[in-house]
Symmetry: C2
Subunit: 341 residues, 2 copies
């Protein structure tokens, strides 16, 4: 009898107080839409993240000798001291040129379906091959990059350790090392703690915002592990924004359906990745949310709704990993010189 009493008391306690380990409807719905960041970097099967490769990749990420002028490194436009971006509408490159699209954040980028706004590179390894050669970015050539790296004995050794074999120092391996390093750039946030079951990780205000974010339909596109980055969508599916000039993915596929289609940007660390949109034309997050509501959902979001959504978005500001600066090896008399022309 005593046993039965205890059991019944336990049952009543459970039913009345909704104990901490019971999952709220909000969390259930959130789990249908989003996933927490992986606890560890996810490497490609053919590009494992060995210690030697990550060390090389970090050095190359900060290596200005990958640019023709020796002025720019990956970190110039994807700054790891901040939002993984340069917080300019368009990035400044070789000879003070500018690119035509806003630099996306490198934080958590490896989890996206593809890279660049138009998805033209399949992963971070493929992406890293691009800006080094782009005229308006680093403006180098494969030849000059390989000559520079190959003239520096420490790099030759680092490539050999990272890519054992006879052909260690290649342009592809350079990009593979950078890509592997980028896969370590994950920024877990309070929203991840929430998704993992710690419902107290979000404030009531943030939870309200999360609910609106899902109810209004934002999460139809900004979904998955990166809260974006997992699919393509037309910018202006309901109302085309007046400022939109860029044809987006149409430039890659030449399919009429892909006009103004872009990879959906990740909203993680959005607080730090201003200015917003493919052209970096909007600096204020509230304004960006308002525009999204109108262009994508045909909704005139109220100021309160926008404030709630922004509160939720800021809960995805992640903890940046501690990154110590690499110690870049010295050039040698054989190293090709910088060229500002």
């Amino acid at each position: 009898m005593n046993v039965l009493k205890v059991l019944m008391a336990g049952f009543l306690f459970f039913a009345v107080t909704s104990p901490a380990w019971a999952v709220s409807d909000l969390l259930k719905e959130a789990r249908d839409n989003f996933k927490p960041l992986p606890d560890k970097p996810v490497f490609k099967a053919d590009n494992p993240g060995t210690a030697a490769k990550l060390k090389l990749g970090k050095a190359l990420y900060f290596e200005t000798r990958l640019s023709k002028s020796n002025v720019f490194s990956c970190n110039s436009c994807h700054n790891l001291a901040g939002g993984g971006v340069d917080n300019n509408a368009f990035s400044t490159g070789h000879k003070w040129n500018v690119g035509g699209r806003n630099a996306p954040t490198v934080w958590n980028a490896s989890l996206h379906i593809a890279q660049f706004w138009d998805g033209r590179a399949k992963d971070v390894e493929a992406q890293a091959q691009g800006p080094v050669l782009a005229d308006v970015e680093m403006a180098a050539t494969k030849d000059i990059v390989l000559k520079r790296l190959g003239s520096i004995p420490e790099y030759v050794v680092m490539f050999r350790k990272a890519f054992p074999g006879i052909d260690s120092l290649t342009y592809k391996n350079m990009a593979d090392a950078i890509g592997a390093f980028e896969r370590t750039l994950l920024t877990p946030s309070r929203f991840d703690s929430f998704l993992k079951g710690d419902e107290s990780a979000l404030t009531a205000h943030e939870k309200t915002g999360l609910k609106i974010f899902m109810d209004k339909g934002c999460a139809a596109c900004h979904e998955g592990v990166a809260v974006g980055g997992g699919m393509y969508a037309k910018f202006g599916v309901v109302n085309k924004p007046a400022f939109l000039k860029d044809e987006g993915r149409f430039g890659v596929t030449k399919q009429e359906d892909d006009k103004n289609v872009f990879k959906v940007p990740s909203l993680r660390n959005i607080e730090f990745t201003y200015p917003y949109f493919n052209d970096g034309s909007v600096w204020n997050l509230s304004e960006a949310v308002k525009i999204m509501g109108w262009t994508q959902l045909g909704e005139k979001l109220s100021a309160k709704e926008i404030g709630d959504i922004v509160a939720f978005l800021n809960s995805m500001t992640g903890k940046l990993p501690e990154i110590t600066l690499p110690k870049l090896p010295a050039s040698t008399p054989l190293t090709p010189k910088p060229d500002r022309s």
Copy 2:
């Protein structure tokens, strides 16, 4: 009698074997010319290096919002991932302009008699006020910098902690914080171990180079704790180099005697601070040593002497401190935007 025998044996042992703690003539001569780096940063009495100030100073050192375009930070030209320089003849700045003198290294710079090639700033704190405002460098104004920093609540708090009082956020305090951080940028090397008494820290080759360096007279100018940086000297005191156009300190003092006079550069980390001279015209250290022998000493140094001296110079490549990237706070809607014009 036994005691006397022991004493005599000890004396003989001492006289014959020259034990480890006896100081060689080379070390004695070196100590007459040079000093090891201080074990700790040396701060100014009126600008103590508190933890709060060093944290702020590091953030500002990496802060691109100090430049008009938001493209450049102190670290752009004085790169802490390398030799504390940008390894270009002249640094690239706002609108792809270039400066007129080679960027000197920030490593150990606080120990110099003054800052800039012409000594026009008395210390690193004063120096840090310059490039932010220079047209061909960061091209900002005091007003825009203070408006930007003042619009970011985290910076306002950081300044208040670093500079308690009513007027925390000032342009001078910005530079003082950067200067205090720069005072921590010391790079102890094997040469310091040698100067402190570990004579095995240098190889025989390096010791030969050190002896030549002192015997030939290089150490007359490249002396003291920074092996340079402690005095001014005319470039071309014996033979004027054909490439020399810069009037140097004359521009500051307008004294005829100061024509072509420069602060003697520090030779610490010289392996990493190429290209050499005020105009960055020489990329090869051996070539630079050869030119110095001829212009400053009227000596045609032999290839062997040059090789020995370079071996010694490379023993001053120091251990760089581990530097973790700061986490820069986000701008706000009130923060003035970057301006590339």
